[in-house]
Structures are given as structure tokens and as C-alpha cells.
Symmetry: D2
Subunit: 247 residues, 4 copies
């Protein structure tokens, strides 16, 4: 790859985020953002040892200051590089509960990570993405990807605290696609509509074959395929389901 | 009407909120909530003088305490009445601006009114709505209505600060409909997809006939028609456009 | 009502169609179209005996000639009246079956009634609807309503023969709304998302209270409420569910 | 590729169909179906001369007999091979025109190719696709792709004759995805939302840079990326736009 460019992933845990980091690390140095270092330290080591380049940065995506510091650190490490890809994979935790038992805090916690976090992260990544769009040596258009969920398009009972921010994130993704596509940035939203096969879901759907869950590496490959799309073919939304999804 | 019940409208200004208040005041005593008394004081007087009953309460819907106080005041005024209808018509102000110029504060202001406000208001109104659902003498099922906009379903460029909360509000409405319909509460969301004819928009579409704008009283009548629906026929979403809407 | 105008309902059976006919007969002479006279003859008698005016016409909505004859008959009976409301409630029969067992004929039967029928019926009704839009003495804007179903927005497994035409009908409704709203015709689509309480579904959801089914008269009332909307407030789509719908 | 499998493309013209054929011919022998041989004869020659294998078959996709003959011919040429991929790219011609000027024939022509054709083609291809799903040596899950358009999700004025079948096709695609995913067939629908750069559109958007149009080869690459997805990651719908799309 001729151009000097990095990829950044926010919300790196043991699932999709890690897989996306590994996949994009095959092409770019990667910066991994997560609240707790235990979410990225092993992975950073793994990538660096297998010939890639990775840094991990403790970041609270809901905090402007924290994200600014992260991007400052990225600049220190990777120099004045373009941003080839930015993946927002963070999501506020939210437990299903009766509406009348939800607190304003439940709600705002979820919002602050999923939506405010996406705003702050996107604003930090966009200057580097726009620079990459101008770079004639760039192999692929710069790509900004948001990870959504079933709740991005379906608002079930007792799930408003999760669905409201996820619907909002989807709106933000579409709005950004419309504003930044003409400037060469490819913005996409992925509706992950099923159970991802990660350590936390190990015991879910136990009696079912592996095809009942979504593979995290497979999601990562699909994100990479989005990144490979040319500027004459931008996909702004994909859905993802396992073969045995009940829908 | 046999049952003792009131209606409450949050977000009363010179447009939709006022019209809704007038329409529901034909059947119920109404409580009008708005941040500034100038938004409801004339209207309260008008309703009370024309044979209805209205109270106005200065309320910041984004504040739990303020909304709790408002409902305490309602109880003092209307006694232990059911809530027959609650209309959430508040909306955070938001100006179209380039994404990179938006501040976290722009965003959270909009969110706090449109979504957090809807959460707080709904939680305050639901006990009274549920009581009305149990009341055999109630003429119509209790109704909780949220006012949406074009931006509830369409996220245009530079509009994410408005569209994100509006998408979120729509998710909340659907989730509430699914949770509370079985308990007898009719929840509905209205996508107002056009320019409403209010003092603020007086000079918009000036060269067009009146049918280019949505009538605020007509919206109110449509909300009333939602309220009249039986529990064997709940509509959870309507869209509203003027005859000459360009879409 | 000052203006001389009739309403026409296609697809009159013992359910929604009959209820819609009764409701609109309170305001207009009504023409009832159904393939078999047994679907309307009792109802015609009932309406005429209770002070309304109704005619029934054996019609195959999928046939241009048959629909033309029906509208000729309407003209003979009602004179040169405007069409105040036209409701397309016909639907091709379709049984859920594995895709590989469906025949082209299964599919085209369903299409011919649900979509081709809607085309033919709308083309026949529109001249009268447009005339009503020009009539200054008309109380309400002329209204063209299409009855949809869950399958209008959700395409389940083995249901493509029903969902494909229903999706298509919804597209037609939207397209007509955009073309004819500026000419004063209010076009609306109703997604009936639940079991309607009609003789044929008597044994369905037997262990559930009446609120588990949609009331046909309640649908009719909602259609009437659509008709009452002014030309500064057109709703182009409503969904309808019973209180105890599982979604 | 260990398994013996072919790909089949219906609706091969000088645009998307040809590009898809070329792309899939890099991995599979391909059968190209089009009404007129002039649509595929040069392309068949080109593929065969460049090391691939292709056959062209004159086919009317709206005719069961014609499609059956085509698949019989495929079997004669490719033997008892699996079907690795089937792409339905045919579309009934339709001109924008006022609703009242459309004929039933305009409508049914469009339906017969876009929807009835999709039914017939899918039924012919599915046995081979299902066989591929059972084949342990298959590299990728068998894939059935439908080409949609803006009109698959947006029904503009005067466009119902095109939008109705396209909405219907989308319903069919979703229904098939739900029925056949559990059997291992990956079904996907592509909303091509912009002008494709093909000979016929040469003079469109002339003053705009190439990024104002969608590249046919780029669409083909995106279809290939769908085909590469594992059965733990099926995308059922993508949208595609050029960088400079106005939306």
C-alpha cells in the first residue's frame, strides 16, 4: 500500500472489535480503543508478534477529552498518517427491563456511549478520513463503519433504552453518509441481527450447530469487503445473520 | 364522560401543542406543560373562558424533578383523576450545521428534550394512563402520543443532531406500544412530514396556497381520532402531510 | 352534504368490506363490488332498509371489462355523481406453501386480484375522485384507500405469493399518493397487522379475550377518520392492531 | 475449487449482467440467459477466449417452458453440477407515465419479467443451489442474488408500474431468505440506488465526474463479496450508490 494510513477501532473487546482489528491489521497499522486495557493488551501483542502493527489506548469514547487524547497518541505513534478506516463498535450496556423501572441514568449511560460516543469518535476520525480521500495513492476509499444491532431497526418491548440509541446511531450513520460521500468518505452501518459467537455467548444456543451464531471473524471480513468497495459503489448498510437465524 | 380523567400535553407552543390542547379540552380538563408561561398563559385563559378547564405548568421536560412537580401540581388541581391522554410534543431545538461544527452540547441538548424528556414524561404519565385502562367507565382507551417529524424516518445531511433523537423517540414509541398495549394503553407516533402553519413559519412557502402547509388544528383532530380508536383497533403510527407537500 | 357523491367499496365480504360499506353508507350512497352476489345482497338490503342507499354489483376486479361495467352501472344508478371515497379491499387468496411447490398460477392469481385489480379499480374511480376534488361543496377531500396486511411490510417464509402482491400494492398506493395529492385526492394505505374478527376467523384465538382480534367496524371507523382529514392533513399510511396483538 | 459447480445469470445485457458474468466466470463456468443472443454472444466468446467457460442461452425468463429449457441445456453442457450462484438481473421495461395513461399490459409486462420471472428462475435454480449447500467440498455457500433498484424501496409519482414489481421482488427475496437460509442457501437483494455507468446511460450526468455513476464491475465485485460470505454471516440486503449520488 503506497499511502501511509492507519485504521482505528473503537470498542475492542473479545468479539467483533478484536476480529475487525485483526482483519484491518493485515493492511494497516491499527489503533485499538477500549475503556480497559485488558480488552486490547493481549491482542496488541498478538498483532505485533504476527507481523502487524498495533497500539492500544485506554479510551472512554463518551468523553471528548479522552478521545482527543487517543487521537493525539495515534498521531505520536503513527505520525501524520491518513485514516483509512475507522470502525465504531462501542455500545452502551443495557439490560432489558420494564419501562417504568428504567432510570434516566440507565438511558443516558446507553446514549452516552452509543450515540455521543459515535459523534465524538467520528469527529475525531473524520479529518484523517478526509485526508485519505484526497490521497491519490490510497488503494481504497476511507471508510467509517458503525456497528448496529437488531435493535437498530426493531424496538421490542422493554428494550427502548437500547433501541433508542441504536436507532439514533443509524440516523447518524445515514446523515454522515449523505454529508461525506461527496467528499469521498464511505460511511456504512451494519445491522448485526443475531447472536455473535463470542466468549460471553458461549452458552447461548448450545444445542444448535455453529451456524446458529454469527462468526466475529466473518463480520470482520464483511467490514473489510465494505472497505474494498470503490467510490463508484458505496454500500451504506448491510445486515448480517447466521444461516440458522430465527429472525 | 363518566370517568374522571384529564389530558396532559407537553410542549405547548403557538402551534401543534396549542391546537392539541384545545381539541382535547373539548372532552377533558387539560394540563399544559411548557418551559415558559408565555407559551400557555393566554391559551389557559382562552380554554377556561370558553367552558373548558385548563391549567398551565412551567416545566422543563428534560428534568425529572420538574416533571414530577408538574404531575404533583396536576394531582392537586384535578384530584386523583385518570390520565385519558398524554401528548408529548416537545422537541429539542436544533440547527442544521456541518457535522464537524456540531458540539457535544448541541447534540445533548437536543437529546435531553426529545428523548430523555419523552422518557421522563411517559414515566410520569403512565400510572394515570394505566389507571384509565382499568376504568370500565372510560369512553376511550388511554392514549400516549409522540410527535415526530420528517427527521424521525429520514436522516438528511447535517441533520444528525435532530434526526438521531427523533429516530430514538420513534424507537421508544414502538417499544412502549409493544409493552403497554396488552395493558390497554394505546401508544402512537405521528410523523409530521411537512411545514406546519404556525406563526413562526408564516413567511415560508409564501407563494403557495394554504394547502402547502399542514394545519395545526388538523393535526390535533387526527390525534383525537387516534384517541377515539377502540382497543380492537390501535394505530401505532400515522404520517401527516399537506396536500401540496413535495415529499 | 351539499355535493352529490357516492362511495364505492371493492372486495365486500362478511368482514372489513361490509363494515366499511355500512360506515360510509351513513354519509353517501354506496356501491358494493364483489365477485359473488351472496357477498353483498344481504348487506345491500340492510343498508337500504335502514335509511341508506346501496347497490351491489357482481364484479371481477381483475378484469378491466368487468370493472368498467360496474362503474357504468354506478353511473346509471347514481347519475353523474362525484366519487367521495373509493376503498379497495380485495385480496387474492393465497395459501402458505413451500416456495418450490408454488405454481406460477398461484402467484398470478394473487397478483391479478391484489395489484392488477387495484390498478383497474383505481383507474376507474379516479375520474370521479378528481371531480370531487374540484367540487367546492364537498365536505371532505375525496379518499382512495387500500387495505393492506402484515404481509405488506413483512415477507415471511413461504408467504412470497401473498407478500409480493401486498408489497406491490403498497408501492402503488404511495406512488398514487404522490401523483394525486397535489390534485386534491387523499390516498391512504392501511396495514392491517392482526387477525380481524370475522366469521371465517371465529375459531382463531378462541382462548383469548375479544381484544386479541381487530374489530371490522373499528377498521371502518378508522377509514372514515382518514376520509375526514382535511387537505392540510393527509395521512398516507396507518397500521392497525388489536390491543393483545403479539406483533 | 474442489466442487463441480456453475453460476447462472439471468438478464445479461451490456451492463451489470455482463460484469457479474465476467466476475463469476473467474471461479465457475457460467450460463448466461438473455432474451436475445446479441446480449450475450460476444461476452460468451470473450469469457471462453480468456480462459473461462461460458454458454449463452436465449431465454424468456417470464416463461416457465423457456427457463426449463435453459436449465436443461445447462445440464447438458455442465453435467450434473451444483449451482454455486444464481443472479437474477432481469427487469421488465417500464416508462414513467401518468397513472391514468398506464395500461394493464404495461403493468403486467413489467410484472411478468420482474416478479414472475424471478419466481420461475428461482424455482429452476434452487435444486442446484440446495445441492451445493449439501456439498462439503463447496468453498462458499450457494448464493441467490436479486438485483433491485431505487424503486424497490421508493415509489415515486408515475412510477408504480416499475415500483410495484420491484417492491414485490424484494418481498420475494426476503421470503426466500427466510425459507432457504436454514437449508444453507444465501439469498440477497441489492438495491442499486443510482445511475449505472453503461452504454445506454453514456449521456446521462455528462457534466459530472465518473464518481456520479455506479460502476457495473463494482456491482459485480460486491455481488462476489456477498457470495464469499460464510454461512455464519449472511447479508440479505445491500444498497449501492456512487460517491456523488444525490440520494
Amino acid at each position: 500500500m503506497a499511502s501511509k494510513a492507519f485504521a482505528v477501532v473503537a470498542g475492542v473487546g473479545p468479539g467483533t472489535g478484536a476480529s475487525v482489528a485483526r482483519r484491518f491489521a493485515q493492511a494497516y497499522p491499527v489503533a485499538l480503543l477500549a475503556r480497559s486495557p485488558e480488552n486490547f493488551s493481549e491482542l496488541v501483542k498478538e498483532i505485533n508478534q504476527s507481523g502487524g502493527k498495533a497500539i492500544g489506548i485506554s479510551t472512554d469514547v463518551s468523553s471528548e477529552e479522552s478521545v482527543k487524547n487517543a487521537f493525539k497518541k495515534i498521531k505520536e505513534e503513527f505520525g501524520d498518517a491518513n485514516c483509512a478506516a475507522a470502525v465504531f463498535n462501542a455500545s452502551g450496556r443495557f439490560a432489558r427491563k420494564p419501562f417504568l423501572e428504567m432510570t434516566v441514568k440507565d438511558f443516558s449511560n446507553s446514549w452516552e456511549v452509543s450515540v455521543q460516543g459515535a459523534l465524538i469518535f467520528s469527529q475525531a476520525a473524520l479529518p484523517g478520513l478526509l485526508k485519505h480521500a484526497e490521497d491519490k495513492s490510497a488503494k481504497y476509499p476511507p471508510t467509517l463503519i458503525f456497528t448496529g444491532a437488531t435493535a437498530s431497526v426493531k424496538a421490542n418491548a422493554q428494550m427502548s433504552g437500547f433501541a433508542a440509541p441504536k436507532f439514533a446511531l443509524r440516523a447518524m450513520s445515514t446523515s454522515l453518509a449523505k454529508e461525506f460521500a461527496p467528499k469521498g468518505v464511505h460511511v456504512a452501518h451494519a445491522v448485526i441481527d443475531g447472536v455473535i459467537d463470542i466468549p460471553r455467548t458461549k452458552d447461548w444456543l448450545k444445542d444448535m450447530p455453529p451456524e446458529a451464531k454469527i462468526g466475529a471473524d466473518d463480520i470482520a471480513q464483511s467490514y473489510w469487503a465494505l472497505h474494498e468497495q470503490s467510490n463508484r459503489c458505496f454500500t451504506n448498510e448491510i445486515d448480517i445473520r447466521p444461516m440458522l437465524e430465527k429472525w
